[in-house]
Assembly symmetry: C2
Homo-oligomer: 228 residues x 2
């Protein structure tokens, strides 16, 4: 019987962290991510890997889930004191883009992982849920003809395809000595959604770069807090 | 030296067809799709498989490419005599949905294949290109502030996520003895796009079921022609 006062066994958490680190490193280093390569790099046995994850599918699903969890919590921090639901949609989207920019190399590597579209569907669902929360915050601002489930899936799908396309193009930009333009990704994403969601009119001026910088500051503060 | 009068060697085409059939059967039968399972089912060697495809990624990419090619050609047949670009957008979308409904079991199985998101990106691009053609057909009807590349990627992403979600839900519907409602998928897809693209106003009545039936008739005619 385990005593309630005993500290939790730190080993599973350490193994998990080692697997995550190995996956990030392999992914960023252009190495093929396989269970063998992961266990070699993490210095653990295959059995240890499989005691944590049923396979690569579950691992990437869990990593993306954790990343999104972090993004949304950090997004929530940015929202504090922001009054309008439209501003909250814009700043939450900016935090996602800032996060994608920060983890560009890992996410680009993850595009080469082979995983099933069940995992993709889980990712769509994670993003969809957040859009539905944002719809709820809109209250009367949500047009009555909008089907919440359909619109949230559609918004999640367009957001993901723009992110994936941006990641793919960024590789060529970097290879050509350039700097991938994340502000353009933020602006595109917001502009592909309707005015009732973002509050942006087609011709409106909109400072995507300023908003993205604010999002990066929020992420940096959160990192400092987490480390301090 | 090959003689110009000799008929082309039919074997590669036959091997390819056998691989496609095996992939469709495995996918529909809920079997795991691996190179081993495919070659066993198709009655070919691994070497023969790899002389056609670099791996499962390329196979699924090619199969989806061929399916989309067929869909768009069949869509084009439905367009003949259809005057307005808006009507063409609606009928092309209906043909895609009809095709998805017809190949539901295979596509549902394909969700479980493990493939990299490079393949997903290629799929997005295939769909994006068609949206850009439709934008061009709109002429002055395309709002000047719309970025063609961004909008086409966003529309492709929302369309794909709605299709994938519909496929996933259809499994539960069928398990419960129901019939998956493809007309609802068609209506959702069109309603998630702006009025300038589909010509549909939010409150408009719209006969999704009738349009879908017309699309099924076009697909059936094309099949008859292909077989006769």
């Amino acid at each position: 019987m385990s005593s309630p006062t005993r500290a939790p066994d730190p080993r599973p958490a350490r193994t998990r962290a080692a697997i995550y680190t190995a996956a990030r490193e392999l992914s960023s280093a252009d190495g093929e991510v396989t269970v063998n390569a992961l266990t070699r790099r993490a210095g653990i046995s295959r059995a240890a890997f499989y005691s944590h994850f049923s396979g690569l599918d579950e691992l990437i699903g869990q990593m993306l889930h954790d990343m999104f969890q972090t993004v949304w919590e950090e997004g929530a921090a940015m929202h504090r004191g922001v009054a309008s639901p439209h501003e909250r949609v814009r700043s939450a989207t900016a935090v996602v883009v800032a996060y994608v920019e920060q983890h560009r190399t890992f996410l680009l590597g993850a595009l080469d992982w082979k995983f099933s579209h069940r995992t993709f569907l889980a990712l769509i669902e994670m993003i969809s849920v957040r859009h539905r929360h944002a719809f709820d915050a809109l209250g009367e601002g949500l047009p009555s003809e909008v089907d919440r489930m359909v619109a949230s899936d559609a918004f999640a799908g367009s957001q993901l395809s723009l992110i994936i396309r941006w990641l793919d193009r960024s590789e060529h930009v970097v290879a050509g000595g350039g700097e991938p333009d994340a502000a353009a990704l933020l602006e595109s994403t917001l502009r592909c959604w309707p005015t009732w969601y973002t509050g942006l009119q087609p011709g409106d001026d909109f400072d995507a770069r300023g908003l993205l910088e604010a999002a990066h500051r929020v992420l940096a503060e959160q990192r400092e807090q987490a480390q301090g």
